[in-house]
């Protein structure tokens, strides 16, 4: 009878349901379907979909690609540590190294242009968190993730690490510039 006693009928699966239950199940199921179709819909019509383009890579290789990029398109240096600021042309492969405990180098992108942003960690797992946009992507060692980005507003952005990566986790923060030309 009550939920802590056996059901009144052994064949409980034949018990009829009340209209209120039936109506709710139909409504709830319809809503679940809507939520399901939103995802494929956004893949076709939406402009914000996380890419799944990924390559296995060794840290040395990724670091070399980043250094070559810096050598080609460095525009200036910032801070006492002389972190290079790189302004790659639109459409280019842009490399951002995540490592204990910084992001390297600093990127300067152009508003409205599209870039292939390559993310990879050299050591532990990190979290790429672009602020204040609040775009967040997991960064793993050994997996080179190519995210195609199109910045839509000029400004100075922050890149925060939002995956715990050891004692200096909260110091792992950098900048990203988006400029209008």
């Amino acid at each position: 009878m009550s939920a802590i006693q056996p059901p009144a009928q052994r064949i409980w699966w034949k018990q009829p349901l009340d209209k209120v239950e039936l109506v709710w199940i139909v409504i709830a199921f319809a809503w679940c379907l809507v939520m399901f179709f939103m995802m494929p819909y956004w893949h076709v019509f939406g402009k914000q979909n996380l890419s799944s383009e990924t390559y296995r890579a060794r840290p040395e290789m990724f670091a070399r690609a980043a250094e070559e990029m810096v050598a080609k398109w460095k525009v200036r240096e910032e801070t006492e540590a002389k972190i290079p600021v790189v302004a790659p042309p639109a459409g280019a492969d842009v490399y951002l190294i995540a490592r204990l405990w910084d992001w390297w180098p600093i990127l300067e992108l152009e508003e409205g242009k599209t870039y292939r942003l390559n993310l990879m960690s050299m050591d532990y797992q990190h979290g790429f968190s672009l602020q204040p946009e609040n775009i967040n992507v997991q960064v793993l060692p050994g997996y080179q993730h190519v995210v195609t980005v199109t910045p839509n507003r000029a400004g100075t952005y922050g890149i925060v690490c939002n995956e715990f990566c050891g004692a200096g986790h909260h110091k792992m923060v950098s900048k990203l510039y988006v400029v209008k030309k």
Partner: protein, 565 residues
């Protein structure tokens, strides 16, 4: 019936306790409360650290204690209590002897030893790796070993539950089918077995890796299998606390499930689909295809979400039906207005339902949407969400059940009834606001597991808006309120066991009675003609409206961020 085992019949509830089972239920429940105490003290320290204006601990201690808090709460408190529930739902509810009590003590010992082992690794500073211990972040081998021992113990507990079901059936201690609450516990147990197996598959190689026997563990594989454990174990909690909701509705209102068929089918949906929903922890990861992500989060998750939406209707619905039968039929809401809001067993259960559904459920579905996940992944939105589910939902439901167990199982009167009356409100509302504040901070980009969002000493700091600090302050204040509520719970529970007035326990004897099938109902539910719970239906529609609005607000926000493809 007379056997060789000792039983007693609780004079207040008529429940029949097997002596060996009773001791085990008590031991597991007490171990759970000890873990809650430890985790709760730590909760205070880390809350006062994340409240940026107070910033209590230093960085190393913060990360160390955060690791301990996550595990001692989410794993130790919750699973010890669940083992107690499993034994209660099998042995006590079915009036059966517990299968192999000795093995159950072995399981208990393994769980205790495991807990002590990994805590030793954490508190000596050798395993500050967070509960997820994502490789290749290194932890001491004792950390993984402790978790493995605990898991083996819990696994044995699950098999003892199944064994008890078999014994009860063979010895015909009950008529008909098992009660709905036991069915829910069975769901939890089946999911637990899958979960613990996944945990073992990933933690054993990780243990070997930390001890130097395995060269490396692939981080993506680790995350995939770890979350098959980490997420599915949350499904154990959901099944367990939904079973507790039904149990409390039955205990407080003698409520009859609206339709056994609907409620049981909804439990089966948990088994079928919640497992795969672990994919929603990997939505922001590289290396997994979009199709895989969409498939696993949608088909798998939404049918499980459907199940929770069904329970969300049928639990209060069954209460409404029971209340209306008692004559509380005025308008849509007399049944709920005149509910026993001063009884912490009821109020705890009902607040648990509300916090779980409105805050935990809606935020969980939002986060679990493939594209939307990107705008909250690893922000404080995530702990905001799961404090609503596993703290406001599961933990509060277990607390509510405790107020029933103290007299019935421990034969003590609950002390400080005035405080007990307020406890669920302090804890539930505190947690509700705490969760909302963390979610709010998360939508402003505040990272989770982060010691200092002012980035003092960093060469290129980022400046969060003032509202982010405000959110963290609200989190701090409401967190402290919730902790006061949690402390009240521990004080009342421990105090009642030590000093509560002893109640008549019923003598132990070898006579037992069979759990009869109720005979007074024919093969009908409440009938298909009526609309038996109109008030609950209105609540459900309010819930759905909030859900839809919130869901699309997030899509709207997503559409304004950088283009990504």
């Amino acid at each position: 019936m007379a056997g060789t085992e000792l039983f007693r019949t609780d004079p207040r509830t008529g429940l029949q306790y097997h002596k060996s089972a009773e001791l085990l239920i008590k031991a597991n429940a007490v171990a759970a409360v000890v873990a809650l105490l430890v985790g709760g003290i730590i909760a205070l320290l880390i809350t006062l650290t994340r409240w940026q204006a107070v910033h209590l601990l230093n960085a190393d201690n913060f990360y160390l204690l955060l690791t301990a808090h996550g595990l001692d709460m989410l794993v130790i408190w919750v699973i010890f209590f669940e083992i107690a529930i499993l034994y209660f739902c099998s042995s006590t509810l079915l009036r059966s002897r517990l299968a192999t009590p000795r093995l159950a003590w072995l399981a208990f010992a393994l769980m205790v030893i495991g807990t002590v082992t990994f805590n030793a690794a954490i508190f000596t500073g050798n395993a500050t790796v967070m509960m997820t211990s994502y490789v290749p972040l290194p932890g001491h081998p004792a950390f993984y070993l402790g978790l493995i021992l605990f898991a083996v113990g819990a696994l044995i507990g699950c098999f003892i539950f199944l064994g008890t079901l078999v014994v009860a059936r063979a010895e015909k201690t009950y008529e008909g089918s098992i009660p709905l609450v036991t069915f829910g516990a069975l769901t939890a147990c089946i999911i637990a077995i899958f979960t613990i197996a996944s945990g073992a598959i990933i933690l054993i190689p990780t243990f070997l890796w930390s001890a130097g026997y395995v060269k490396s563990i692939d981080p993506l594989m680790y995350r995939t299998i770890w979350w098959a454990f980490g997420h599915s174990s949350q499904q154990i909690n959901v099944s367990a606390h939904v079973a507790v909701w039904y149990a409390i509705a039955a205990i407080v209102f003698a409520a009859k499930p609206m339709s056994e068929r609907v409620s049981r089918t909804a439990f089966v949906l948990y088994i079928l689909f919640l497992q795969l929903a672990s994919a929603h922890h990997l939505l922001a990861d590289p290396g997994l295809s979009t199709e895989w992500k969409v498939f696993n989060t949608s088909y798998a998750m939404y049918l499980a979400v459907l199940a929770s939406m069904i329970h969300g209707l049928t639990v209060p619905g069954s209460i409404e039906v029971a209340q209306r039968a008692k004559g509380l039929t005025k308008g849509l809401f007399e049944w709920i207005r005149k509910a026993p809001w001063g009884n912490p067993t009821f109020s705890g259960m009902f607040i648990s339902l509300l916090v779980f559904g409105f805050l935990g459920g809606i935020s969980g579905v939002m986060m679990g949407t493939e594209q939307l996940n990107m705008i909250i992944h690893n922000t404080t939105y995530v702990p905001g969400h799961f404090h609503a589910t596993v703290v406001g939902g599961t933990t509060l439901a277990f607390m509510a059940l405790t107020y029933f167990l103290i007299p019935s199982l421990f034969n003590r009167e609950v002390i400080m009834p005035g405080l007990a009356k307020w406890q669920p409100y302090l804890f539930g509302i505190g947690m509700g606001v705490f969760s909302l504040a963390l979610m709010g901070a998360g939508t402003l980009g505040v990272p989770r597991r982060h010691w200092d969002i002012t980035f003092a000493g960093a060469s290129l700091p980022y400046e969060y808006p003032g509202t982010a600090y405000l959110m963290l302050a609200i989190m701090g204040v409401s967190g402290v309120v919730a902790i006061v509520g949690g402390a009240a719970y521990i004080l009342i529970t421990v105090g009642s066991l030590l000093w509560g007035k002893r109640l008549a326990a019923g003598a132990y004897g070898r006579e037992t009675t069979v759990l009869r099938m109720p005979v007074d109902t024919a093969l009908t539910g409440h009938g298909t003609g009526g609309f038996v719970a109109p008030g609950t239906f209105v609540f459900a529609m309010v819930f759905l409206t909030a859900f839809i609005l919130y869901y699309f607000v997030n899509w709207k926000y997503l559409s304004t961020v950088w283009g990504l493809s």
